[in-house]
Structures are given as structure tokens and as C-alpha cells.
């Protein structure tokens, strides 16, 4: 078999610590393209698998601010420009009264943008993925920890350094 029709090599571990060790091992071995799967967010992995800072916060901030300003603009336009009517002797542009709606809409927009951002960033929804073919991967959503190495080297080579870190099993993942 050749590495071409191989998606990657997966190792299953029973603890985050051994997963962490494995990550260090394969990166020492020079494998770059590695991916870890865990049943819950493990803070310790963050430094061992460094990623660029998420842009989620500023997406949400922009969306929220834009919506808030947009809402204010809409209220001003509708109440002063498009259809001005006298209400309760108040001025047409009653700014203080315009704030609450703008505030709520801003928060709403930020939240929606955040959720969408999270899904888009994670490439979800994606109902099928090669790793799902792995029998043992089912437990990664419960109590197991998986490491996927996507590298052209022969399996045995990768397996060697993974076994060292106490992998329960090592499986070839096919696309």
C-alpha cells in the first residue's frame, strides 16, 4: 500500500497525559501534520498543539457594533426622515428611547455571528469524516483520546513512536 490512498494514522490513548506525550513524540519525530481528538476541552493540549488565536471575538464585536449602529440609524431614519409623526410631544429624534432596541439587537447579532463563526471556523456541519470509519473512534466522544498523524512516512515508523507513548491501538485511516 502507498501513503497516497491513506488519510492518516490514528492512535487511541486512554488519558490526556499519554496523548500529550505522543504529540510531543511525533513532533520530535518531525511529523508536522498532526491532529488530536478529545472527549472534552483539555487546556493542557493548547500549548503542545499551538494554533493561531481565534478571530471569533473580533467577529462578534464587529457584528454586534454594526448591528447596534445600524439599528440606531434605522430608528433615526424611520422616525425623523421617512415617516415623522408627533408622539406625546416628544422630539422626533428621541435618542434615549432609541437605545434599548439598538442594544438588544447588537447583543443578538454578536451572539448569532459568534455561533455561525464557530461552525464555519470548525468546518461544521460535516456529517461524514474519514475518522468516523475507525471503530474505536466512537469512544473518543466519551473517554478515549485520539491522535491522527497525516504524514507520508510508512506506518511502522509512525507507529513505533506512538506505541512508545502507550497507545492502546493504532489504526490506518482511509479516506
Amino acid at each position: 500500500m502507498s501513503g497516497l490512498e491513506r488519510y492518516g494514522v490514528m492512535a487511541i490513548f486512554d488519558s490526556p497525559e499519554s496523548l500529550r506525550a505522543a504529540i510531543r513524540a511525533v513532533s520530535d519525530a518531525g511529523c508536522r501534520n498532526v491532529e488530536a481528538y478529545t472527549p472534552f476541552a483539555v487546556e493542557e493540549l493548547d500549548e503542545s498543539l499551538p494554533f493561531p488565536r481565534s478571530r471569533l471575538p473580533c467577529v462578534m464585536l464587529i457584528a454586534g457594533a454594526a448591528a447596534m449602529l445600524g439599528m440606531l440609524a434605522l430608528q433615526y431614519y424611520s422616525a425623523v426622515v421617512d415617516y415623522p409623526v408627533h408622539v406625546g410631544g416628544r422630539p422626533l429624534a428621541s435618542w434615549p428611547a432609541f437605545l434599548p432596541a439598538a442594544f438588544e439587537v447588537g447583543l443578538l447579532a454578536a451572539a448569532v455571528a459568534g455561533v455561525i463563526g464557530m461552525f464555519v471556523g470548525n468546518g461544521l456541519p460535516r456529517l461524514h469524516h474519514p475518522v468516523f470509519d475507525v471503530e474505536a473512534f466512537a469512544r473518543v466522544s466519551q473517554d478515549r483520546f485520539a491522535l491522527l498523524v497525516r504524514d507520508r512516512r510508512p506506518v511502522d515508523e509512525i507507529a513505533a513512536c506512538l506505541v512508545g507513548c502507550g497507545a492502546e491501538s493504532i489504526i490506518e485511516v482511509h479516506p
Partner: protein
């Protein structure tokens, strides 16, 4: 099972009530002139307040890094979602022409008309919509990894499909987890100001009016506290039987009840303070109408409501000072029930006592509820329980992910 049947029955009543309302008009209720709002709005405020605690537990305590909340938040959020959805029904059905409720939204229309932005009802409309959507998202985002777990655990095909779809192909990549973590933190950060603003808006529904007893700057904080108060009460009232039936004592331990009780007590004390301040304002402001309103509380036609409120919201919570009470589930449950009762009556009093006799003596008039008023109150409660029971059957009552994290953290600490 009987509980389920009962909930189903009351939901049926609720539906019947809605059908009758839509076909006949809100004249089926006791509302009149001058008391144009009564049960309808009382129910609304009561329900939306119950929602508050859920958001507070899952968001505020999340920000405050209170790990003990982990077992509570899923169920608390769920409670929020249902309570808010139900509360959202009342502002719609209380309208004279409910089928036009969407006229409150700014949308391009042939008449080129816009909403009237100065009305607190409009602010509230936006608040409810935002609150409902955000708490739904927050709830679902938290639910996502658990969906994956259920999907992978599922033995039957339909379950795999059902949960699979809900899980959206979640596979627990570390990168995903990071985004997920950031998002839930940020959502929590949004939810907290949101929920505070929502209850302030609800308060403004009244204090924008010039009626004695409504026109008060005290209302927004008062309503926020009230919301926490009744919210925690509902959390207790529901969780105590649940942890019994589903044997969750291991997860939801006495310490949790104790915390909840403490927070209920705290919120309660703020409320009691507000009661005192209301009276003080009336006295200090020396506005004859306000004073008349205050007097009406003590010995007006609705004085009995006032005294029930006092008994429930002031007296009944005092035992919570004692640890033994806080660690006695049935006692907490009883207090919770009383508080819920008291808070409903408080809202009712707040609305009706100000309306039935405002400025001109000639326009005074009493409110008498009709059977349909009761149908809408108890029907909505039925619906709430129906939703909750269905939820408990199909979705995880506790957040598995949170619990895993908690367990992991504990083992590491012990190691």
C-alpha cells in the same frame, strides 16, 4: 407517568383556551377598563422571570469560574429556554388582535409604516426576541458535544440519525474545542448583560407609564432581583424531585442545594429591601396618588394579595439563614413553592393595584378573573412541565462534557 398525563391535560386546556381566545376576543378574560392588564401580563412577567436563573447559573457562574455549577447548568438552561418561550406567548395572546403581533417589528410594508420606537413595549419586544434566540443558541452550543456522545453511543438507527444530525458531525478536534470554549465564554459574556437588560425592559413596561406605583426608577433593579429570586425558586422546586427520581444525588449534592438556597435568600433580601424602598418613596415623594396606592396595598380591595406576597417573599425565606434548613430538601422545596406563589401574586398586585384606582375616583373599577384567566395560567404551567418531561427523556439532563472536565480537573488536583 401520571405527572406526564396531567401535564398533557393542562396543555390541552391551554390550547383550548387559545382557540377560544382567538375566536372570541380577550373579552373572555376579566380585563376591563381601567384594569386593562391583569393575569395576561402577570403570567408573562412571572414566566420570563423564571427564565433568569438558568442564564445566571450557566453564564454568570461560568464567567465567575464556579466549577460546582457544572451539574446544574444544562438543566437550568433548559428551564430558561422553556420558560422564556412560554412567557413569549403571553405578550402575543394578550393583544386585542394577536395575529398582528409582528407589526411591532420594523419590516418594509406597503403602508410604509414603522413601529413607535419610544414605547417600552417595543423595547421589550426586542428584548424578548433577543433573549429567546440567544438562550437557545447558548443552550444548543453547550449541547453539541453531548450530541456527539449520544450519537456514538446510540444503538438504534433512528437514534444515530437523530443525534447525528443534531451533533452536526462534531468530532472533538482540539482546534474545535478551542473555538467552542471561546464561544461559550463569549456567549456567557453576552448573556449576562442581556438577561439583566431584559428584565430591566420588563420593568420599563411599567415604569414608562405615569401611574402611581408604576412610575418608579426603582423598577429595573427590582425586577432583576425579582427574576433571580423566582428563578432560583423554580430551579429548586424542579431539581429536588428530579435528583430524587433520577438518583442524581451523586452529581447534584446537598452543597448545590445549599448554594442555590443562599442565592435565593440573597435575591429575596434585595426584593424585601425594594418593598421597603417602594413605600419609602411613596412617603418621601408625598405624591397623594402614590400614597393612596400604597394605602390601597395595606387595606384596599387587593390587600389580601399584598399580605400573601409579604408572607411568601419576606417571611417564608427567613428560615434559609439556617444551614439545617438549607440542607433539608423538602424544606427548600416548600420554600421554593411559596416563593413562586408569592412572586406571581406580587406581579398581579403590582399591575392591578395601580390600575384599579388611579387618578380620577370616577374611573375606579375592580378586576374579577374569569375561568379563562385561570386556564391560561395553569395551562401554561402544564405546557412547561410537558416540555421539561419530554426533554428529560430525550436529552442529557446533565452536561456530560462539563462533568468530564470537572472529573478531569479533580483527578489532576488530587494527583
Amino acid at each position: 407517568m401520571t405527572g406526564f398525563a396531567l401535564a398533557l391535560l393542562f396543555t390541552g386546556l391551554f390550547v383550548a383556551g387559545i382557540v377560544h381566545l382567538l375566536s372570541t376576543g380577550i373579552g373572555i378574560w376579566g380585563n376591563n377598563i381601567p384594569v386593562a392588564w391583569a393575569f395576561d401580563i402577570a403570567n408573562y412577567v412571572w414566566w420570563i422571570a423564571i427564565g433568569m436563573a438558568g442564564t445566571f447559573i450557566s453564564a454568570a457562574l461560568h464567567l465567575a469560574r464556579q466549577p460546582w455549577r457544572a451539574p446544574l447548568n444544562r438543566y437550568a438552561e433548559t428551564m430558561t429556554v422553556f420558560a422564556v418561550s412560554i412567557s413569549g406567548l403571553f405578550p402575543i395572546f394578550h393583544l386585542g388582535r394577536p395575529w398582528f403581533f409582528y407589526w411591532l417589528a420594523p419590516y418594509p410594508n406597503r403602508m410604509d409604516l414603522w413601529p413607535q420606537w419610544r414605547s417600552s413595549l417595543l423595547w421589550d419586544f426586542f428584548a424578548i426576541v433577543a433573549y429567546l434566540i440567544v438562550s437557545l443558541l447558548y443552550w444548543y452550543v453547550g449541547l453539541l458535544p453531548d450530541m456527539a456522545t449520544l450519537r456514538d453511543r446510540a444503538s438504534r438507527r433512528w437514534q444515530q440519525v437523530f443525534y447525528g444530525l443534531l451533533a452536526m458531525g462534531w468530532r472533538g478536534e482540539v482546534r474545535h474545542w478551542q473555538r467552542h470554549e471561546t464561544l461559550s465564554l463569549l456567549l456567557a459574556g453576552l448573556a449576562v448583560p442581556l438577561v439583566f437588560s431584559v428584565h430591566s425592559m420588563v420593568a420599563l413596561d411599567f415604569s414608562e407609564g405615569l401611574l402611581p406605583g408604576w412610575h418608579s426608577a426603582l423598577f429595573p433593579p427590582f425586577f432583576v432581583a425579582g427574576a433571580l429570586f423566582s428563578g432560583f425558586a423554580m430551579v429548586l422546586v424542579l431539581i429536588i424531585p428530579l435528583r430524587r427520581w433520577y438518583r442524581l444525588d451523586a452529581y447534584i449534592r446537598l452543597i448545590h442545594l445549599d448554594h442555590l438556597a443562599k442565592m435565593m435568600l440573597a435575591a429575596g433580601l434585595v426584593i424585601d429591601y425594594s418593598y421597603a424602598m417602594e413605600l419609602f418613596d411613596d412617603w418621601y415623594g408625598q405624591d397623594p396618588y402614590a400614597i393612596a396606592g400604597a394605602m390601597a396595598k395595606f387595606h384596599g380591595p387587593y390587600a389580601w394579595v399584598y399580605w400573601i406576597t409579604m408572607a411568601c417573599n419576606v417571611v417564608a425565606i427567613q428560615p434559609l439563614w439556617f444551614e439545617r434548613v438549607r440542607n433539608t430538601p423538602w424544606a427548600l422545596w416548600a420554600v421554593g413553592i411559596l416563593v413562586l406563589l408569592g412572586m406571581w401574586f406580587e406581579r398581579f398586585l403590582l399591575i392591578v393595584n395601580s390600575l384599579f384606582h388611579d387618578f380620577l375616583p370616577s374611573s375606579a373599577g375592580l378586576f374579577y378573573p374569569t375561568l379563562w384567566d385561570l386556564v391560561f395560567l395553569f395551562g401554561s404551567i402544564g405546557l412547561f412541565f410537558l416540555l421539561l418531561m419530554t426533554f428529560v427523556r430525550v436529552l442529557p439532563l446533565l452536561s456530560m462534557v462539563e462533568l468530564r472536565k470537572l472529573a478531569h480537573r479533580l483527578t489532576r488536583r488530587s494527583a
